[in-house]
């Protein structure tokens, strides 16, 4: 027989690895967002275009199937840079919606009630915190952009033969780099807005706003000053230029030079990081 006393006990057992600890934040974020059915539905919808693309590629290389479906061969769209760029465009738009749903709820709950000191009093630096939160978005967006697209790429390579792979390796680089560039821009924007804006719907709307307003003002500046540099605040256009360069190696016609587009995007990322670092402090020092 025994009477068990449950008292406070100190802990001296094993600890988890410190380098991967940021993933805990991503995991908790996923537990929250995948509880929403709307999100889950949208997430599944994101896989429809790549599936469509896979069917497409399969049909291209399968003459019998084409015959059955009675599609003439010359009406098929070629699987080339334009194909993948269009797919990336579609995927990134869907991913954008995911980011708008997920982003605003990542940081603002922690800041609204001053929970940040509790995080930072643990073996977690501000850097770890940001990496943890952004990885939630990056992993999610990766799952709908470069991962399925790369899978399609290798599927096509398998169907068309490895010679096709070497000829079109540039495409895979474009998919990877283009996706990551876009993911970083969107994620950092979403996080920065989440940190600065308390109300989630407004933060979500502002993500749209940045694109729309940027586009509008960019065009306005261009029209008034007869220049192209106004486009620097038009994220959408900068992304367009970057992708076109990555996929087809073309410079833009009558718009910003390519290096300016890349610089603008990276500058935007830096700006978002700056905003984040200003807001994420464990303790505000009040100067008298």
């Amino acid at each position: 027989m025994a009477v068990y006393k449950h008292n406070y006990q100190a802990y001296s057992g094993p600890l988890t690895s410190s380098t991967l600890r940021f993933l805990i934040l991503a995991r908790y974020a996923y537990q929250r967002i995948f509880g929403s059915r709307i999100f889950l539905a949208l997430f599944l919808v994101c896989f429809v275009p790549p599936l469509g693309g896979a069917v497409f590629i399969y049909l291209q290389h399968n003459a019998k199937a084409l015959q059955i479906l009675q599609i003439p061969i010359d009406e098929l769209i070629p699987i080339d840079a334009a194909f993948f760029q269009t797919l990336l465009y579609i995927q990134s738009s869907l991913g954008f919606l995911l980011a708008v749903m997920v982003g605003p709820g990542l940081i603002s709950p922690d800041l609204t009630n001053n929970a940040l000191p509790l995080y930072l009093s643990r073996p977690l630096t501000r850097r770890d915190y940001v990496i943890g939160k952004i990885s939630a978005l990056l992993i999610l967006l990766s799952a709908v952009t470069w991962i399925p697209l790369s899978a399609l790429f290798f599927f096509q390579a398998r169907m068309a033969g490895w010679a096709w792979l070497w000829e079109h390796l540039r495409l895979e680089t474009a998919i990877f780099t283009g996706s990551w560039l876009w993911m970083l821009v969107i994620s950092l924007l979403a996080l920065a807005l989440s940190a600065w804006v308390r109300w989630k719907p407004i933060a979500g709307a502002l993500i749209f706003g940045v694109f729309i307003v940027g586009g509008g003002f960019g065009a306005l500046v261009n029209a008034i000053l007869f220049t192209h540099w106004g486009s620097l605040i038009n994220i959408g256009e900068l992304m367009d230029i970057a992708w076109r360069y990555l996929f087809r190696g073309e410079g833009p016609s009558g718009s910003l030079p390519v290096w300016a587009a890349f610089a603008g995007l990276l500058g935007f990322c830096g700006f978002c990081l700056l905003l984040l670092s200003k807001k994420l402090k464990a303790y505000e020092v009040v100067r008298s």
């Binding site: 006990q9 410190s18 643990r122 073996p123």
Partner: protein, 311 residues
């Protein structure tokens, strides 16, 4: 015994204001009360030891680990209960404490077990599946305590833990803190404006004033030193009682109609006082050795220029 905290000329400057001025010392206490007027630097000291601020000069060590080079290891060993409201309103109690446990390095399954244990321990057992936003003030304070102790730290920083709590909740918080201290595995630093709280929970006291340590002493030793002073509360005619006591050689100070403070000389015992009381049908309602030594220590520290550091 290894010091809990070592301060090595620790200086913190914000802009033109120097908040901590070259703090020095090795403090081995297991339950240290941190006192001082507002702006003395108490919270800044705690925040510096947590690594929220980089020292402008000098350094500090917690359990021998340097705060500038080994802050992550230090944070494994510390639990922090901040003064202000601190919670995530749309998380349930259990989720919140579990997240904090995992971030402190506990494996996920163990974190879940300990989260439940800790929430029961602080009295939030029934409410642990509800969202923190629905908790009352007392419950939020307890949740803050829970997240501070869930990973079983060796050192606990408690900043005004009884803030805003009503009397029963205050009692509960104090008894929890005393219980945690009594296990012997966790040291604590309690910063508070309520001297009673510090007296009940702490063995040593550090008083800060204008960024400097003006007092560091052991409360028990201070109390022993005060044994000569008696406090009495009587019902009956105090005037003749006081006169007779003084006749015996006692020094008396009357503090209100029924309160008397006395110093007994060697030859006089308490029995003699009872003799006087019996003769005059006076009730001695209260009789004890002076207990509010902390109040005296604090006031002396505030008035003095630089008190002595009695380690």
């Amino acid at each position: 015994m290894q010091s809990t905290i070592e301060l090595d000329n620790l200086t913190i400057r914000f802009g033109r204001q120097t908040v901590l001025k070259g703090l020095k010392g090795a403090f081995a206490g297991r339950a240290i009360g941190l006192l001082g007027p507002n702006g003395a630097g108490k919270t800044t000291l705690l925040h510096t030891l947590l690594g929220f601020h980089q020292p402008t000069a000098g350094t500090a060590r917690v359990f021998g680990l340097d705060i500038q080079r080994e802050i992550k290891q230090i944070r494994h060993l510390i639990g922090y209960m901040p003064e202000n409201d601190s919670f995530i309103s749309d998380m349930t109690g259990i989720r919140f404490v579990r997240l904090m446990a995992e971030l402190s390095g506990l494996p996920p399954s163990l974190a879940l077990e300990r989260a439940h244990e800790t929430l029961f321990y602080v009295g939030l057992g029934e409410a642990r599946y509800r969202k923190l936003g629905t908790y009352s003030l007392g419950m939020k304070q307890m949740a803050k305590l829970a997240q501070a102790i869930v990973h079983g730290p060796k050192l606990l920083f408690l900043d005004e833990p009884t803030n805003g709590l009503d009397p029963p909740a205050r009692q509960r918080m104090i008894s929890l803190i005393k219980d945690i201290r009594s296990t012997g595995e966790t040291a604590l630093i309690l910063s508070s404006h309520l001297l009673r709280d510090v007296e009940e929970c702490c063995e040593e006291v550090m008083i800060l004033k204008e960024g400097e340590i003006v007092v560091y002493c052991n409360l028990e030793e201070e109390r022993k030193a005060n044994r000569k002073f008696l406090e009495l509360e009587i019902i009956g005619d105090s005037q003749p009682f006081v006169e007779m006591a003084e006749h015996l050689g006692c020094e008396c100070a009357v503090n209100g109609p029924c309160r008397i403070k006395m110093v007994l000389p060697e030859q006089v015992s308490i029995r003699d006082l009872y003799c006087l009381a019996a003769r005059r049908e006076i009730q001695i309602r209260r009789l004890n050795y002076k207990r509010d030594s902390l109040q005296d220590i604090f006031l002396k520290a505030m008035e003095g220029n630089r008190g002595s550091l009695q380690a």
